[in-house]
Symmetry: D2
Subunit: 349 residues, 4 copies
Amino acid sequence: MVKVGVLGATGMVGQRFISLLAGHPDFEIAALAASGKSAGKRYEDATTWYLNDAMPEEVKDIEVIETDPAKMDKDVEIVFSSLPTEFAAKVEKAYAKDFVVASNASAMRMKKDIPLVIPEVNPQFLDMIDAQQKHNNWDGFIVTNPNCSTIAMTLTLKPIFDNFNINRLYVSTMQAISGAGYNGVPSMGILDNIIPYIGGEEEKMESETLYLLGSLDGDEVKPADFPVSASCHRVAVVDGHTEAVFLELDEDVDIEKVKKVMSEFKGLPQELGLYSAPEHPVIVREEDDRPQPRMDRNASGGMAATVGRLRKDAAMENSLKYVLVGHNTIRGAAGASILNAELINKQIL
Amino acid sequence: MVKVGVLGATGMVGQRFISLLAGHPDFEIAALAASGKSAGKRYEDATTWYLNDAMPEEVKDIEVIETDPAKMDKDVEIVFSSLPTEFAAKVEKAYAKDFVVASNASAMRMKKDIPLVIPEVNPQFLDMIDAQQKHNNWDGFIVTNPNCSTIAMTLTLKPIFDNFNINRLYVSTMQAISGAGYNGVPSMGILDNIIPYIGGEEEKMESETLYLLGSLDGDEVKPADFPVSASCHRVAVVDGHTEAVFLELDEDVDIEKVKKVMSEFKGLPQELGLYSAPEHPVIVREEDDRPQPRMDRNASGGMAATVGRLRKDAAMENSLKYVLVGHNTIRGAAGASILNAELINKQIL
Amino acid sequence: MVKVGVLGATGMVGQRFISLLAGHPDFEIAALAASGKSAGKRYEDATTWYLNDAMPEEVKDIEVIETDPAKMDKDVEIVFSSLPTEFAAKVEKAYAKDFVVASNASAMRMKKDIPLVIPEVNPQFLDMIDAQQKHNNWDGFIVTNPNCSTIAMTLTLKPIFDNFNINRLYVSTMQAISGAGYNGVPSMGILDNIIPYIGGEEEKMESETLYLLGSLDGDEVKPADFPVSASCHRVAVVDGHTEAVFLELDEDVDIEKVKKVMSEFKGLPQELGLYSAPEHPVIVREEDDRPQPRMDRNASGGMAATVGRLRKDAAMENSLKYVLVGHNTIRGAAGASILNAELINKQIL
Amino acid sequence: MVKVGVLGATGMVGQRFISLLAGHPDFEIAALAASGKSAGKRYEDATTWYLNDAMPEEVKDIEVIETDPAKMDKDVEIVFSSLPTEFAAKVEKAYAKDFVVASNASAMRMKKDIPLVIPEVNPQFLDMIDAQQKHNNWDGFIVTNPNCSTIAMTLTLKPIFDNFNINRLYVSTMQAISGAGYNGVPSMGILDNIIPYIGGEEEKMESETLYLLGSLDGDEVKPADFPVSASCHRVAVVDGHTEAVFLELDEDVDIEKVKKVMSEFKGLPQELGLYSAPEHPVIVREEDDRPQPRMDRNASGGMAATVGRLRKDAAMENSLKYVLVGHNTIRGAAGASILNAELINKQIL
């Protein structure tokens, strides 16, 4: 068993980390770090638990420590980070001197030598780690996962990207409130309402998607080269982001062939049989009215993206459009970091 | 005062008709028609009133009549129709023998000689009426208004279309539950959920928009000639459709110029000072997080479309994107038919 | 393994039955009955699946049969019924000639010789079965479970009733939409709204509660003899009924003692170790703001009632009040029938 | 025209004050005070406007001043306060030296000589003002209005209290999110959920109700003497509190007589024809499923309480129960203070 720690352990994504790590066959929760006001308390006493599943027994008595690498037990090998961006920017590097940092924070994404990875999409980007360790003179390293909306969409794009040429992509999201944290969205803002703006989200979708579908050329990432345009909106859904995707390809495609490549798509986590890997990263549904977030967000334990309404436009040449749902705090956050860690554990540690 | 009747008077759009017609300076409600089981009852007794504003006193004692042109008082000049599609297809023509039919039903939209009109966008299409009357040998005629999602979007497109060349359009909608009628969307389908499908809606948006922006060549409509692709979704909002619009123009535009042409846009209803005409059909907001349906649906009594987040993509050439909100049962339904009738009353009757 | 059938298998409670029976150690789903239009189809083809958990693989290929005892495989021993009331009144007796009928329908509740049972509360009422079989000359029999709101409340009342004397009870419910079936509550009725009426619900709570806490005197049930007053309301919650309970006892109680008797309460299912029995039927929480339906409905797999805010009034003598949450379609419906069947299987079959 | 000021002008209740005062025939908004960070800005620039109705033109250009009596224009006669409790406790007395303070804050409620008033219920309590001015040596004075849940309930109780003897009262509330302010209730707390606790609310309902129905004996209030027990819950409704009321009277009442006294109830504001006074403070509805907050909160401009489901219990002697809806930020807050001010303006100033 690999001992792991969680940074930001009392927050919403921190709780997802704990929920997913409890009972994990390879990882054992050995340390929980949070802000100074929680440090020193039992985890159960320090935390207002937000998830529908009960707090795992095994973490209740763990004493919360400060978010300081010096306080982290040296037996820990991997630390999962769900720290706020600015704070992550400060401390993740300090942890990387000694630990593997699997981070869900956006601070270090797409930075030089720091891989941004979806294991089914660009596992080869982990090759950057050597350079990262060498340049920084670290024993550990940092690996990051993308933004929640980007992960679900890129999973569904990968089989299309591999089989067809994408000329352009438009995406309109309908995102769940849990993505903003427990106190992020006031109920007065979302009941009988939509908030048509999520700070920084469109920029992340437009850049991270192309990075992930890009290629690694020595130390440099060469992003995929089609334009992406996103419009991001918050709606009254608890968990599960829904995204309407419009593609222009460079040929007229057969919808059945698209469904086939999506349904059959598998990546390295499936080959390696990683614990958190869904059997099918992309599930294709045929019903007119699916995917729906409440019905489909938990598919494969929340680790698969569900696609539906695959269709073409009569009037728009070489078009392909569909709707997808992905669980934003499982596949889109904690589960993404954990799958990265499982891959690293199998191939690098 | 012109005497008017309402067909489908007990339904949701029928109630909106009544609510908007109560106190109207030019129209007087003289007849309310509904299904056989309501006929013969006082309107108040026949109706479960759904609107937040109370039922107007003036209609409570009106005896509901059957949906049969023979039962309609001959003094009535205009009948407003919110009949279900299939039923409208059968009876609207019968009413047109003697009455002006201002219809919100989709049955007769874009049929030969039957104008589909937004008064600010294509009022000249009313010129079809002569041919309609002649070909059918009717004393009355039928005029229709577009689908709810189409009206709000086309209002916002008209000033862009008049000032720039649109190459293509993608639109993703987040539509209110009231659009499906009181019993249309089960709460189990929409609480903590999204339904990513509305039957026929995408096809209507893709065809009606181009018709409305088209030109009239003799008796024939020549639709605008850019491709439109829509993806339509139902969300947990009571009233007010929200739409994310992505445009490709044939030049790089100045956003401030776009805001200016949208803000300053006025049409014939504004020139003529029609009673229900909003001062500005399109309201442009500057805040990052607007428009929002609960906040903006009632702008100008629900008759204006509100636009926000006007911006361009860094990577997508000649792009323009924005979000709009329009009230689906006012400007998108009953109010649209009434504005059509006001224009007809001013120019034709 | 006891072979079981489900009547009303395609509806919401029917789906809960299937979900809870899949993987059950003692019961094997052998027959699924539904209305004529579903009969003859594969279950997967006949059903729009509403639950968040996926349809169990083992039922997908079962051919749905008509709701007719003659069509039911004779190897089946227990049939679970979630039939609509009027239909249940007609057919459950016919099934009882040959099968054990564990019914969630209200049709036969509190009828002569037909036990209405919560296994933790009044398991001795199963003694009525002999008389039922004899009087009707049936080989099978019918056992029923209470209304969803009643079950959760009565579980929490039982330890109080056993330890103190209740003088009167007022209860105000806030009930989930799933209790009305998938199409039961229109979204227009519940979004940003409350419906302060649920037909028949108050009467059921007021009568069933006293029956369940009553005693069996020969063939006759002698109900508990304090007055109960209920006010029932529908709110925008998917699953989980919340109830505010106000009690007048005949003495001033120590709140800590009440918590203790509630927390320590166990019944026959716990003694017998029945598969679906929660370890603690009543869970007492100390936080100010619990129980909450989204957080607490799934406690112990949805089979426990969660209680919080146990307190007394300063001004109201001998008072006790609290709030409870119970899962309405698990402990309040399908799970209740299954626990009844587990008890019958252990003690009678 | 009486010049008025608003304290806490940028908050939610402050915005309601402004919305209700705009166009008021007797009051003119002359000053808007808010926290230091807003002071010096135009009101439109200082405020994120939350109401569905647009910000009134007349306040947009008013320069916000600090919450300091010395900054208040001496021509102002009445200041409306929606300050947070602790801050109100500090500054309202300072304003009372020179101004009439009509306060919605809870800080000074039920304090010696400071009247807590609902004009239809206990207008005679304004007689305390003389003593208040004398004891404090103030030229102005303070008058307060009750908690939002209390106002609506007490309006409905007053005609019952005047015509029958109440032995006890239980009330369970389902309160709207707007009662907690814009940022008060996180959406994660209320979507598909209920929060069964509102700090201090039950105590306020239990004490203020009896004070309001009490009598004034010299300088002392003698509260009504029946016990009140409240259980308060937050639900997913934007505006409008719903309350289930259970009464024990000292006789068996005729429901039709109760409806009559409630429907016919009028108070001093109705006699005096005050501008904001609803024609009927209590509206009685006969439908099974009313009142509903979205449908009934705006009755009489949000100033009336709507009652329905008036009924007795079969088993509970001398019982009476009903459900009520009142608008929490109009009749329950800003509108309450304004009606108090209208009464003061008519009778005292």
